[in-house]
Amino acid sequence: MKIAVGQGSCGIAAGALKAFEVLERKLNKDNELTFTGCIGMCYLEPIVDVYNGNELHRFVRVTSEIAEKIAKAVNRGDFSDMGEYEISDDDKAFLSSQTRIALRHCGVINPEKIEDYIGDRGYDAIKKCVTEMTPEQVIEEIKISGLAGRGGAGFPTWFKWNAARNSEGSEKYLICNADEGDPGAFMDRAVIESDPHTLIEGMLIGAYAIGAKEAIVYVRAEYPLAVKRLKKAIEQAKELGFIGDNIFGTDFSCDFKIKAGAGAFVCGEETALIESLEGSRGMPRLKPPFPAQSGFLRKPSNINNVETFANVAWIIQNGGEKFAEMGTETSKGTKVFALTGKINKGGLVEIPMGKTLRDVIFGIGGGIRDGKKFKAVQMGGPSGGCIPESLLDTVIDYKALAATGAIMGSGGMVVMDESTCMVGMAKFFLDFTAKESCGKCTHCRIGTKRMLEILTRITDGEGTAEDLTLLEELCNSIKDGALCGLGQTAPNPVLTTLKYFRNEYLEHIENKRCAAHECVKFRKYKIDPDACRGCTACARKCPAGAITGAPKSVHKIDPNICVGCGSCLSACRFGAVEVE
């Protein structure tokens, strides 16, 4: 039998290596033990798949004990008493309701074995391109598919390729932006860790189309496993002649390089990324000239995101029309989302454009955790916005999402329930953009800082009604005045929360109250006299000395001294401390 253990970063963090080690020790040697990347059902990790002929047994949340049971069942060839550890029908629907193109091999093949990839028509598409198609035909096929940049902006891929192709000069560069910096998005990491050859093949096709002889992957340094697997994949592809000189005996040659990013969110902006590739501070350049005319080392360059490239080989194999059949009028194909936050089933979801947010969150994602109420979904990270419940039937489409004030973004979808403060959320993102602003232009550098100060004032209970007007004014001038996408979109989290959750702002300002109990300054604690045993634990923990009471008698918190830190809440073993 073939046994595969999911070993993406999240699988490993959940304990996949332990399960693998147990299986390695206990399985009879005539079985094939291997590993895959991430299948995207992160909430069920670690996952072990057992292929018994055509039958698949998928075991979830595999601890060392369960791994031992799996090994025994495999060794005796009988799975009759293993049902309780297998995936439930309800959880099976998480995968079966998806349409997987970019993620088609994720969790299915071993990412460190090129044979697995070749076995599923791998490198057929680049062969077809270089032996049967002209670069113009390749670009035409991508045009028919309607593929648009999956990094967030949604710019048509063919257009960028065509511009780079038509630029003068024989030295051109194809660059992959794998600097996935959006907090809350991890689809690019999953693709590289689980299916690096798909990325390489997509990039080879892009390089052929624009006429580049060198391809560069700019990957985040925070993703060590992705870098390791990508390096290995590049070596394997070189050995088999898919990378290098005269690929498939043609005169198309292409070399690959990996450059590790060094941790700067702004490097997701393409001209900042180029600056970083050149060894400088990642500060955006003024456009035009666009990278297609003057990019890396001032040569024509084309930059696409990982997910964009992951679709390319499929499009060449199956035809652009088939891709364009999926989706809406303006957004074609599928999109991968990283569904996280207060959601029951968190993980990677790939669905055709045109489905609604409700389909994803309440259908595939199984709704909100712990029976709580949905409040908002944050899309597009620091450049995006929070979408409220009333707009859950919005279809997933670049235009429709932009109309809400959020953006499609790279695909982070962070779900929030009633325990999340929306002012706090806006502050969280501004804190991020203020720190990540490169400092080149004044509106972004100073504007985000001033906005953060206002938001901090509001969550500290010192906000005034004028602050909201000032915030809106700042938002608009930063949008207009900032040089690059980071600054232009930085106000979005504030604008959307102001638009849909203005009440929460007003409540903070007028009533000095945070309904989500998240803002520390507004939190008031009290001790339930019936539950208090007088153990003195809370009084000893209180950093402000706000709690009084003799041992074995009921304790009391002085609200005038209390700083709302919550130390007493975690110190109490009897559940006597309550938040008002």
Binding site: C10, R220, A221, R281, G412
Partner: protein, 165 residues
């Protein structure tokens, strides 16, 4: 700070293979700095001066790059680098509480190192393990679905291990 008055005395020969491979092109500066940091644990001043001379890149440019990217450090760090994720999903799931707990336990703040040189806390934007949030990485190991107690216990175990060695 006068750069040339640095008191460190790093073994510069360790960097030689890197400089031979990348040293001739200024565009490789970030790769060289990454490699240097891997060797020395941070970017000591004498190493920066050496890189500047070998690559013909002004010191001011190197400092500019090193302070721009969050990966680079100009001071040494503890044996265990705790990278606490403060991404959106971790934020929503209580990363602030984890920070408070480990910061109280170790008695240090973000970007500080304990007196015994064992632990450094660094808050980072997103580690990409959002479905296991809240998450932290200690050196190369990732720990997910943390609670304040769980996070402190992980550090206690590491400290205990060090004591017994």
């Amino acid at each position: 700070m006068n750069f040339y008055e640095s008191k460190v005395d790093s073994d510069l020969t360790l960097l030689e293979p890197t400089l031979e491979k990348y040293g001739d092109a200024a565009e490789n500066l970030i790769s060289v700095l990454q490699s240097a940091q891997e060797i020395y644990g941070y970017l000591p001043t004498d190493v920066i001066i050496h890189i500047s001379q070998r690559m013909c890149v002004p010191i001011v440019k190197i400092i500019g790059v090193a302070t721009f990217y969050s990966q680079f450090r100009l001071t040494p760090i503890g044996k265990y680098l705790i990278m606490l994720c403060k991404g959106t999903a971790c934020h929503v799931n209580g990363a602030d509480g984890i920070y408070e707990a480990i910061s109280e336990y170790l008695n240090i703040k973000d970007n500080e190192t304990t007196e015994d040189g064992l632990f450094t806390i660094k808050c980072v934007a997103c580690l990409g393990c959002c479905s296991l949030s809240p998450v932290m990485m200690v050196n190369d190991d990732t720990y997910g679905t943390l609670t304040p107690e769980k996070a402190v216990n992980i550090l206690k175990t590491l400290a205990e291990k060090e004591k017994n060695q």
